[in-house]
Symmetry: C2
Subunit: 409 residues, 2 copies
């Protein structure tokens, strides 16, 4: 069993770097704070005897050799970059749980047959450089390393320049692992949702992750004065958009239990009290566990939006901007997580990740599964993000046993 | 008959002051541009022999004496301040139509029994200083002069300071008219709506103006991650607000033909693509011809919004921010407008003003009516606002004859 207190103390120590007044953390990717966080974790890696490797997009790997020099590594990890008003646990937990697994094995003098690795992936949050999950995506070969290094932030600085500046532009080729691809990858993460808490389970066995399709929608009507324009002569883009928001919700409910539909961003023009809006722009975020389901949501949206635009004498334009395919994690790895939770006596349930994670990309190059633990009120991407030490410890114990099952003692 | 070309030339000359690159006008109340516009109109008033009076809130009156020194004045007017991206006709037309009436009488050597007055009211648009229709409201005693002079713009400058700076802080007490209150007040204005154009009528006989009730609405739910949060555990403020927008439309349609319901302003928090919005703020603008109708809309909104908030596990807060009572213009003045249009042979129809106008305030202290002329596509508060010279001339002829009917020749 891991050391609950040591894990908690590491989390609290890392949260000091970039700490915000409201108790959160701001360590945006490739800033000075991210450098300080990286330096701290690398120091801990070295103190625990790990061999540190940095790849050409700034992913960092700490390796604990196994007894069989031929064996492929069993890996874990997550990210330590945060949202601008992020919390202490999102990402950080997965990395420090990996470190705690190593420290536990060290203090018990346990050798594994296969090497173990703990990784932290560059820029998971995508808050400064798009897209999200950049480092793990490059590792999995989804993006080229050159493409990633040329991505710019709002000030025109590139990922490559910023990696060099903070000392994390490594020379390991993206995806290269000594001895060959990971034999297995496990990622522990806070759930970022309310399900485990609602069902009072400390462990979520994550069987897969929802696919995502994001859209930009523009509804165009005609600005007009709210007073003299009769209801039947309006081209009210706000009314059309409102009905589309309702349709997004209906379309997601039609795909229960895994369909999700969210309009998070909406902008009105000219946005004046007594002017009927001539244009409304908004985002649609659709998620589902199957591509068939996502396709059905896409089709339903296009039909409904055209109908509703017509109803309000408006035009609608839909552009797809993001796409992640649905992901079913490796059945063997998922079984190992379940086996570990069972043998440790933790109550658990199968869940699906609604959010994207580095594990979703790693899954395409190695057998992968995830372990979720509850977070308070399901809140994340928020300075008040919180989690219980006992749940974090439970997830870390499950991670330890799942990794050992694959690495062999 | 008035001189069509002279009226058009005056409109085009005044539109040079504060002209915008896109063919509109920007002469926001009490700015340097407004001063230049005021100086030009006052010069024209003086050239036409009018005696100029400025009151203590910057309303300006030009008087043409009558033959009976005892008689109360027959007045007309409107405003010359504009929206930031305003047009050439909104307000300006009513003032320059009044000037054209005087010039026409001058060039024909016609004396009236009662004096005539042409007014331009301070800050009708309310774009820099709230509320709208400030000058006419103070003239009618709805607002105190001190209160109005203490109103501040976004930079903290007061109406009083700005009036003094541009030389239009007069000494006439608000509401004072030599010889007593106006015997009648007529205001010519572009319709700012699409009805006259749709029915192909050059003249609208305005029988009244819709009452207005404006609200600020805040819907509060709970921010949450769009991925991991199941549809049934959401407190989606965007969804609740969208259904409320639809309800505003329904409530207005239930009050056909005079009910209007508009959500012109809407703001989402935190307004991020993959975050379920925790708060949405929006405006509601309800209009109707009867107070009973407005009361019914208010009650229906409160019931519906509470129901829809509950449906989406959100809270709703409603604050009323503006109220104008419905206005039925003076039957005698309305009859004079109709009589003038008939005798001049202009096609006309009875309409109701959907927008607020200075005439609505003046109506509370003098018998009042309005004359509408069509504007292109019903568009105003827009640089592309446009109107036909022949329609503007027709409205001005109707104004001339309606005023003469009350003033006596
Ligand atoms: N874990 C996480 O917050 N990912 C961001 C992308 C998403 O919206 O799923
Ligand atoms: N005429 C005009 O645009 N008035 C502004 C107030 C309103 O919205 O009716």
């Amino acid at each position: 069993r891991i050391d609950d207190n040591r894990l908690w103390q590491s989390l609290m120590a890392l949260a000091q770097i970039g700490a915000t007044p409201k108790g959160g953390v701001c360590r945006i990717a490739l800033t000075d704070e991210d450098k300080a966080g990286r330096d701290q974790v690398v120091q801990w890696f070295r103190d625990a005897g790990l061999q540190v490797r940095v790849d050409e997009v700034g992913n960092v790997f700490g390796r604990r050799p196994g007894t069989d020099p031929q064996a492929r590594a069993v890996a874990t990890g997550s990210h330590i970059d945060t949202q601008p008003t992020g919390g202490k646990f999102d990402g950080n937990y997965g990395v420090l749980a990996g470190l705690e697994v190593v420290r536990t094995l060290n203090s018990h003098g346990i050798q594994t047959v296969a090497p173990l690795e703990v990784a932290f992936w560059m820029n998971e949050e995508g808050t400064r450089f798009t897209p999200v999950m950049m480092g793990s995506g490059a590792f999995a070969g989804i993006f080229g390393a050159d493409h990633i290094r040329s991505q710019q932030d709002g000030a025109g600085l590139t990922v490559g320049e910023e990696l060099a500046r903070i000392g994390y532009l490594g020379d390991v080729a993206c995806g290269d692992v000594p001895g060959g691809a990971f034999a297995a990858y496990f990622e522990a993460h806070i759930e970022q949702g309310p399900v485990l808490e609602a069902y009072d389970k400390p462990i979520g066995i994550v069987s897969g992750a929802l696919g995502q399709q994001w859209y930009d929608v523009t509804v165009t009507g005609m600005d007009a004065h709210a007073g003299p324009t009769p209801m039947n002569l309006r081209h009210d883009a706000m009314l059309a958009a409102a009905r589309m928001v309702d349709a997004v919700n209906r379309i997601a409910l039609d795909q229960a239990p895994h369909g999700r539909g969210t309009v998070g961003h909406l902008q009105v023009l000219p946005n004046s009290r007594n002017v009927i809006p001539g244009q409304v722009k908004f985002s649609v975020d659709f998620r589902n566990l199957s591509q068939t389901g996502l396709d059905a949501m896409d089709a339903a949206m296009r039909t409904e939006f055209a109908r509703l635009a017509g109803q309000c004498q408006c035009q609608v334009e839909i552009t797809q901007v993001v796409r992640f395919a649905p992901c079913i994690f490796h059945p063997g790895c998922v079984a190992s997580v379940r086996g570990a939770a069972d043998s440790l006596g933790y109550a658990h349930m199968e869940v699906v990740s609604g959010a994207g994670h580095d594990a979703v990309y790693v899954h395409s190059v190695a057998p992968t599964a995830m372990i979720f633990v509850p977070c308070k009120d399901g809140i994340s991407h928020n300075e008040i993000e919180d989690a219980k030490s006992e749940h974090l410890a439970a997830g870390c114990n499950v991670l330890l046993h799942a990794m050992l099952a694959h690495a062999g003692v």
